[in-house]
Symmetry: none
DNA sequence: AACGTTGAAATAGTTC
DNA sequence: GAACTATTTCAACGTT
């Protein structure tokens, strides 16, 4: 029986091989994604922009909006413009704190 | 002279110690940041919101706006609402591609 | 037909949704891997060690060997002692693992 | 006075800008580290190996020892051969490194 | 206080 | 070979 150094080697090996199998699947899907990106590129789309859009869609879907109202409160408090009209704020008030 | 296995050990050691020294400085600053966060918290601010605000400010400052117009074009093309009024779009058109 | 700003929105949307679908699959598998890790942990295995073993298995022995021997060369060059003095220790403290 | 929505905006802004300033310092140091790595590389050192050596130096010998021995135990348990058969090889192929 | 969750940092891989 | 992206790893934080 495969018990070496107090370790159940049979079980350990099964777990490891299971993980490796899953990682192989994961890699296959990652490759598929690459293929789709490549296809998009070959058609003439800009993959960098696509990635950006994907990122934005993910941000939207994440229940990230729970925070939003408090974030807005803080932004207002420090004088950050909201959303669209946002521009780099003047760094005029850079006194030290500590 | 410190040349072992074809390696100039003296130079290597200097480089390594230089890096370790820089990493120590970096860590010190990271600790300072933690302190400021802690101070903010003790005053009553919500550090999670602060982190979020910092993230937004970083997004704004990164010359990320070069992409923005193209991103908007793509978003429009796929029917994503822009900015504020953005809501989760209907997934009605989920035909397969490949 | 969905052509806005010179972009074929229909095709673009299909590509994006295809990618999102693949990413969802990928995430599902990543979660499965987490589950297996969790299971291993609950049985008493050390997930950190398992990760290390997985890493070793990924490297073919040649690469692994090269890496390790070069590390030793560098360590010697800067005067770090080799692990030799750390021979395989008594396995006395391996009772309650599995 | 800058009190909006019950938030002391002045203080908040000071805190945030202090953090941003510290993060800028941190980034500068990270860049310095990159420079040193680059320098090492240009001289002929292998940065991957250097990183490995840095990692080893960070671990006190006890921790390092424990980790490695446990890895060996797991490898034995699943029937992976130990590195022993990979003894320190001839240093014949270390000419043109530095 | 340990656990899981989360976000940041390091590292590895890929592309240009 | 340099820059960027993605993955993985590590540490902090809140939670139970």
């Amino acid at each position: 029986m495969s018990n070496i150094g107090g370790i159940d080697g049979t079980t350990l090996k099964q777990l490891i091989e299971k993980i490796e199998s899953l990682e192989a699947e994961k890699k296959a899907i990652a490759d598929d994604i690459k293929d789709v990106m490549q296809e998009a590129k070959s058609i003439g789309f800009d993959v960098k922009i696509i990635r950006e859009v994907l990122k934005l869609r993910k941000l939207d879907s994440n229940d990230r909006f729970e925070l939003e109202s408090m974030v807005d409160v803080y932004k207002k408090a420090i004088g950050m413009e909201l959303d669209d009209d946002a521009e780099i704020p003047s760094e005029e008030e850079l006194e030290n704190i500590a």
